[in-house]
Symmetry: C2
Subunit: 977 residues, 2 copies
């Protein structure tokens, strides 16, 4: 051990800084950084990860000089804290915590209150004047030491905590229910009992020597690096064993040492409104948990806002100098971290200590205001404001939300939860069929549609509802996709039992009947049996300023998935640069059309099928015409028919009988046709281009509707930019066959009219095979790619989005097999490779190839960033997600730019290879910027991984580099949330 083994912080000197994560661990580096910028953190020191490695290499021996170095550092802590480790008058107590390079939550051990013994206890009582607190701390310390350091459970071969059993026994004897009922005398007895148990088991008394305690704790933390649960965690998370853990020893401070002590929490700005004043609460002579517990009501720290009724004093009044010091900290913090901070502080006997600071949580409205204000204050640049803006905050301002401060909300507890499929707050009366929902909404009621699952026939009922709740399906089930498209809050796969016949749902004994009021918190996936107060969308005045900055930085387009002229208009208002996906099948579901479509399906010969299609043609044409008008000057991507045909047919005996009657068919024949269309795995069956290939007349009709609508709109002066998209291509021949059908129709229509509308024909890349042969698909004439990441996720993972609910929660939440639901955020590690392959091969054939994404991922910020890193031209998402995607696109562009100018070795090298991207005009035919997709695959991938890891806002340094345009070593000194 030649190098430095112990790094002090918070005392006379601080040796480390935030960039020394590998050596000091995450926690140690963070503590050093806080001390470095002048925050009064309780003093302490970090034993390096190298010591841990040496400890194991030498058969669990501490290096020879460590003892000396620790003692020296401890002396510094004593000096700084004005207390002495082991002193009976003025005892210093310390904590001992693990801290690895990357967080391994709960995997390793911690020991608190080290230094307590019978002698120092007296000092603690004297200092705090609170014997109960002192004894309670003592008993906890004995138990923690016995468990963590000595391993009492292993020694006794039991699985439960024997100390806790003694506590339970004591309470039972006294007839107490709560720990808080224990008196000082009770606790005294308990400490004695704990010590006796310790002695009985280990055949030696509990160590009174504080240094012995400390070394025991340090050894225990090192030992905990190798306990099975930590090893398993590392092996699953690919954390090398030789990284080791650091050990942090830090002085403990107490806000309950009398009336010159206090504790509190504060925000550097108002987290609810974003207003720029120092906002916070404190309690004199209290511990942090007292503020949180709500037994005593804390006071405001100042009079920036009128004091609440009954409150007479603020911290600024009581301890003006300390308040001034705290306010200085506030200013220093915003200067250092460039963001609103959330602070925990303790005043111990007239001295201020910062226990924690981190970026403060805030409402969406506050986030917008703070961002714009801080730019105006020149505290941050517009770019910083964009980079650190959390996409969820935009979602919040764009959707209704519950008033979480209302008494009703605070009192309410959810009766069920499910997958949060579409965010927002919805309140209304429960109805159990689309027809009922629609009818009741027409009567002026606010309704929530509750179904086992939804199908395309429920669309009108969904549109009429405030929100949608289902008991089945996953994040990309029909209900989820459609609800997001409509901007309706939605919870799917909820743990409720829906009975459509009885028009109710139940959760255990609780029954919710038709007409009962319920509330859905779409973002949290919580269901309440009450009408909770919700706030409607109310954009903060700073919103448009902020989005204007976003647009200035965006280098990738954001389109929308819209199937109706109305959706198209909404999306355009939200800033969509075109339609990336218009699902023609949704048009078929309207009641005046579905019968024609059903006739088409039930036709048993070409002629009848064509007759039915001819009846649909004018309707589709009219839809397209209206959409083209709404999107004047912007591209409109229309996908040909995609879903399995049987989705359009009725399923119950009764519906079948009705249909047969209407069509003058035998019910048996209808049933037999439905059976013939039945598939074991419809997701992998006769759908997508397979339909158009077997029944070219369908594609032909759709192409005709598109081109006739385009001709009509163009004749009226509308700039029409149709892009026709063939779904579920697996081979280039499929594409070539369908393109020919489309081109032939175009030739026929424009040939005879003389007026030509330019159009593109492209394809979805939504099967692994399509990505693998993407070059051939372009060779067969594809003019653009749109990644259908819903299907691509399904096939890459072999995972049906409808069925994944059976194990997805365990996979994501419990086992962490997937860190995120792959239907929500692109799996960059696996599926991302296929996307990269697809783009590279496609652009190998056509460097101008337009590439986009139209899966549900198009509205997910992480996924948007990945798409940018892969050189996509656009992402497409639900209308209500367009602003979020715009933000993510701008963030991605800024991050890549910053990576280019920052000094981080590999990142920099990679990013400097990245071509400058420029925004392309809306019309096609304009050259792609200098992107050389084929050659730059590697950097893109590296950068993509980086981007996704680094979705938290950027550090000051890299943003600084961005501003100055100069390279500078990036420091990681900023506390992460």
């Amino acid at each position: 051990m030649a190098s430095k083994m112990v790094y002090s912080f918070g005392g006379p000197k601080t040796d480390g800084n935030g960039g020394m994560r590998n050596l000091l661990g995450g926690k140690g580096a963070n503590l050093a950084e806080m001390a470095k910028i002048g925050l009064p953190v309780p003093a302490g020191f970090t034993i390096t990860t190298e010591v841990c490695t040496a400890f194991y290499e030498s058969g669990k021996q501490f290096p020879p000089n460590l003892k000396k170095d620790v003692e020296a550092a401890l002396a510094g802590v004593e000096k700084q804290m004005g207390a002495k480790f082991g002193s009976s008058e003025n005892p210093l107590l310390v904590s001992c915590r693990s801290g690895a390079r990357v967080s391994m939550p709960g995997m390793m051990d911690t020991v608190l209150n080290i230094g307590l013994n019978d002698k120092t206890l007296a000092g603690l009582i004297a200092k705090t004047g609170n014997p109960r607190f002192a004894y309670d701390s003592y008993r906890r310390f004995v138990a923690m030491y016995g468990d963590v350091v000595m391993g009492i459970k292993d020694a006794m071969k039991v699985s439960h905590d024997p100390f806790h059993q003694l506590l339970d026994k004591a309470k039972e004897t006294k007839g107490y229910n709560l720990d808080t009922q224990m008196t000082v005398e009770d606790l005294k007895d308990l400490v004695a009992a704990y010590k006796k148990l310790y002695k009985d088991v280990f055949r030696k008394p509990f160590p009174e020597d504080p240094m012995e305690q400390l070394w025991g704790a340090i050894g225990a933390v090192f030992d905990s690096w190798m306990i099975p649960r930590a090893k398993d965690y590392r092996s699953l998370n690919h954390i090398p064993e030789d990284w080791g853990t650091a050990v942090n020893v830090q002085a403990m401070v107490f806000g309950n040492m009398g009336d010159d002590s206090a504790t509190g929490v504060a925000f550097s700005r108002d987290p609810a409104t974003g207003e720029n004043y120092f906002y916070g609460e404190y309690l004199v002579n209290a511990q942090g948990e007292d503020v949180v517990a709500g037994i005593r009501t804390p006071n405001p720290i100042n009079r920036a806002r009128p004091l609440p009724a009954g409150v007479k004093v603020s911290l600024a009044d009581e301890m003006p100098e300390l308040y001034k010091e705290l306010d200085d900290v506030r200013i220093a913090l915003e200067k250092h971290y460039h963001d609103m901070q959330d602070i925990e502080f303790t005043i111990q006997q007239g001295k201020l200590y910062m226990l924690q600071c981190r970026n403060g949580k805030r409402t969406g409205h506050a986030a917008v205001k703070i961002a714009v204000d801080q730019v105006k204050e020149k505290l941050i640049t517009k770019q910083e404001a964009i980079l650190r803006f959390e996409p969820d905050h935009l979602v919040q301002v764009l959707l209704p939300f519950f008033d979480k401060n209302s008494d009703e909300f605070k009192k309410a507890s959810p009766v069920a939860s499910g997958l949060p499929a579409s965010p927002g707050a919805a309140v209304g009366q429960a109805f159990f069929s689309a027809a009922d929902a629609e009818a009741q909404a027409k009567n002026g009621k606010k309704v929530i549609l509750v179904r086992q699952e939804t199908s395309p026939e429920d669309i009108k009922g969904m549109a009429a509802a405030q929100g949608i709740l289902t008991s089945r399906g996953g994040a990309t089930s029909h209900a989820a996709v459609v609800a997001r498209g409509m901007g309706r809050p939605c919870i799917v796969g909820a743990a409720i039992d829906v009975d459509h016949d009885k028009k109710c749902f139940s959760v255990g004994q609780l029954v919710v009947k038709e007409g009962d009021f319920i509330s859905l918190d779409g973002a949290a996936g919580k269901v309440y049996k009450a009408a909770l107060p919700a706030k409607n969308i109310e954009l903060p005045p700073e919103f448009s300023t902020f989005m204007g900055w976003v647009d200035d930085e965006m280098k990738m387009k954001v389109r929308t998935n819209a199937d109706t002229p109305f959706d198209a208009k909404v999306a355009r208002d939200y800033g969509a640069a075109g339609i990336g996906l218009c699902r023609t099948e949704h048009m078929f579901f309207m009641s005046d059309r579905i019968d024609h479509f059903r006739k088409m399906i039930l036709a048993d010969n070409l002629e009848e099928r064509k007759k039915a299609l001819a009846a649909i043609l004018p309707m589709q044409r009219e839809d397209f015409y209206e959409i083209f008008k709404a999107m004047d000057g912007l591209p409109v991507t229309i996908r040909t028919l995609d879903p399995p045909l049987h989705e359009f047919l009725p399923h119950t005996e009764r519906e079948i009988a009705d249909l047969a009657k209407k069509f003058h068919l035998k019910a048996e024949d209808v049933k037999s046709r439905i059976n013939a269309l039945h598939e074991q795995n419809p997701m992998l069956g006769l759908r997508g281009c397979r339909l158009g290939i077997l029944y070219p007349e369908i594609t032909e009709m759709q192409a005709r509707a598109i081109f006739e609508a385009a001709r009509k709109a163009a004749a009226e002066g509308v700039t029409v930019l149709p892009e026709i998209m063939i779904p579920l291509i697996g081979t280039e021949k499929e594409f070539a066959l369908q393109k020919k059908v489309v081109d032939d129709v175009a030739k026929e229509i424009f040939g005879s009219s003389g007026k030509k509308v330019d159009y593109l024909v492209g394809t979805m890349i939504e099967l692994p095979r399509a990505a693998l042969v993407a070059d051939k698909v372009v060779g067969a004439g594809a003019q653009f790619f749109s990644f259908g990441t819903n299907d691509l996720t399904q096939t890459t993972f072999g995972l049906s989005r409808d069925d994944s609910g059976m194990f997805l929660p365990q996979y994501v939440d419990e086992l962490r097999i997937w860190t995120k639901d792959p239907f929500v955020t692109i799996d960059t590690e696996g599926m991302g490779q296929l996307m990269e392959i697809g783009v590279a091969r496609g652009r190998k054939m056509d460097r101008q190839l337009k590439v986009g994404i139209c899966g549900e991922h198009g509205g997910d910020p992480d996924s948007v960033k990945f798409c940018y890193s892969q050189g996509f031209d656009y992402v497409s998402c639900s209308p209500h997600r367009v602003p979020v995607a715009r933000l993510a696109a701008a963030q991605a562009a800024l991050q890549m730019k910053a990576a280019k100018t920052s000094g981080k070795g590999a990142d920099k090298a990679a990013a400097q290879k990245a071509p400058a991207r420029t925004l392309r005009p809306a019309s096609r035919g304009v050259g792609r910027p200098a992107a050389k997709a084929g050659k730059n695959d590697k950097w893109k991938k590296e950068l993509a991984v980086k981007l996704v890891q680094d979705i938290a806002p950027m550090t000051k340094e890299s943003v600084g580099a961005l501003k100055r345009g100069t390279a500078k070593t990036k420091k990681a000194g900023r506390p992460k949330k």
Copy 2:
């Protein structure tokens, strides 16, 4: 046009050869090769593809000197044929055919009988003595010329052939039904009518000048390169436009020019038995079509076998010199092509002409005998015998087959057809439930099981049946997979309507009832309503000699998919080197177990589930014990539970009620559990390792059964080599979690017994994501990969094997979107990439990683070859496919070796990089040969593509090179079948 434009063949000199395919087209090169080796082909010449290119480059002008060159070549043809083009006494007629570099069947034009006019017609009549033939030829020529050369349909703007209409009118007038009823006079009139129509349309008379006819035909062939259907075909098949087509002009010969003329077909050995004598038939004064048509009965060409009753004479008797010449041709042919040849010949006025020769079709038995005989005759080497052996011939000798020469078979016509799921001939009475089939078979009846589809519960009935017929499912449906495993002929997805209630199936009006005899031709997918005569398996005496040679050349192991001790034994007899896939779920379906398994599924808590599993444990243990014994010394790969649980549960109301009663449960509860397990797309749902992860107790029980069985067998001296395989892995964490369960059980069992059995834990690679992260899966501890290509095909294509029947026939047969059913033969172009990625990444982490395949593709020869090219250690297939896979493995090894020594530029370079492969001993731990998978990806892929394209037997040259071990330019002069 500096280079030679016209290449003569069959005359005094032959300019080209079989290697000049690019210049002369396939047909031209082939004709030259035949002439070159001394076959008397009718003389002719080829105008090169370069002329075609020049023709288009110069605006459809013939190059200046072409006329001269053609005339010179034509003079050579006249000289050789002893006839004169345009002569009225001794006219030479020629044909004019297209011939591109690669075959474009039916895409371009042909003109026959060029040179016929009113004058030369007289000569033809004189030479043939057959005015009817002459006039019929003439009318056909006029019509063909008018259509092909002049484009009469376009000129008249009609879609039907106007000449044919005239023929129809003439027949109608005369009251004829058949063309053959037309008399000479009728035909004379028709020629006149044709010529009049020609003149009316084109305003000029039909050209009498033979040279004008010839140039018209040459121009028409060139023109046909650019007709839309040819362009479409090229664009779909990626054939460059600038390749152009060659034009072949060849003398026509006639076997009906009198008694010194004849025509016949022959084989160089007996194609039915393989015996080495000259086998053939001929007719004097006849055309080839007369032999085929069967109006006159042809005579044998010699007396090698007794003449049939009533036949007095053979060709050897009638024309001994010509027979001698033909026999010399036979010997020359076998020497040149090293294989039994199928010959078409014509004798025109005492002169022998070879019209065609190609490798002769033969029975499986003949194939084996010919191969072994030719090696003994030193005509070919063992390696050549192996290389050119068709895998289907092995299938034939290993399975019962219909006597296709029997009158019954000849008379029978199939009543329905379906997908050929498992080859072989099956004859029996139709039964419509597994129970009925089983019962009737016990009564001694031969039964065919007919079902809409089969499920695992039908296994006993399937085993009892001679064959299986279903109306649903694809090549890898349950019925297909199980039937192949059992070696039962099987047809799936047949176009029949199965009514289980009425116990019958119907095809249109035809109804097949219970007990009716039917016959299945499994290889052809044909169903007959009759008991056709079938021959049982009878291995030819040369079989074991041949398979011995195969084993000497094989460098990759062949394992088997076997779920029972019986299957394991059968496979071992067929030469299996271990079990590559033992599906544990099949064991659960036996009637004494399924109830325990169902109890496990229906359990609603861990304890009950464990109880049910404990009841299954001893049964599984016993199975594994028997399998280990049967496979003493060979590895046994056991897959943990894979299918969705609901496959094990009953589905009808009645079955559910029965089960509920048996288990003392409420039917409603059982139904609700079944509903809870219902999935939209079970193939993508809760199955594979997802089951073992949600219910680790299942994996634990299976591991326990395996290890306890292994311990028991090992204690008895059996060498046990278990390899435990985790299915449907998509992430390394899934694998790690399941491996831990297995390892923990092993530790427990072997820890306590002291006897340790080595085992491996590996994974299926059957999801695209698994292939993409294969390195990480190895990093998580996977010790082998087995590619599950059934599932990998499903997910790569987004294609359910159960549902693909709805469009697979159109995709494969009509539209040629897939050249082969991807469930039968590995899609090397798409899925092959994922396999390559998986192998490369897996071996990057562990160069010794054992890699195999256990999908249905493991028994498909092309797929076996692909696996070899990718460096697989083994393939695994159904027991009955093991010999076929062994053959394919040997062929692949020889082909790769040959590619290394042959002189073909890229191939050679690629193959020379290939490491020498050696067979690995059966036990693990032995080093892999020098294969460097990661580095050699490129050559492997190239070679793989080559191998798959080149599955036809090798050319003489490359085999020659193999023998001599020297590099030599490979000639492509051999006619391909």
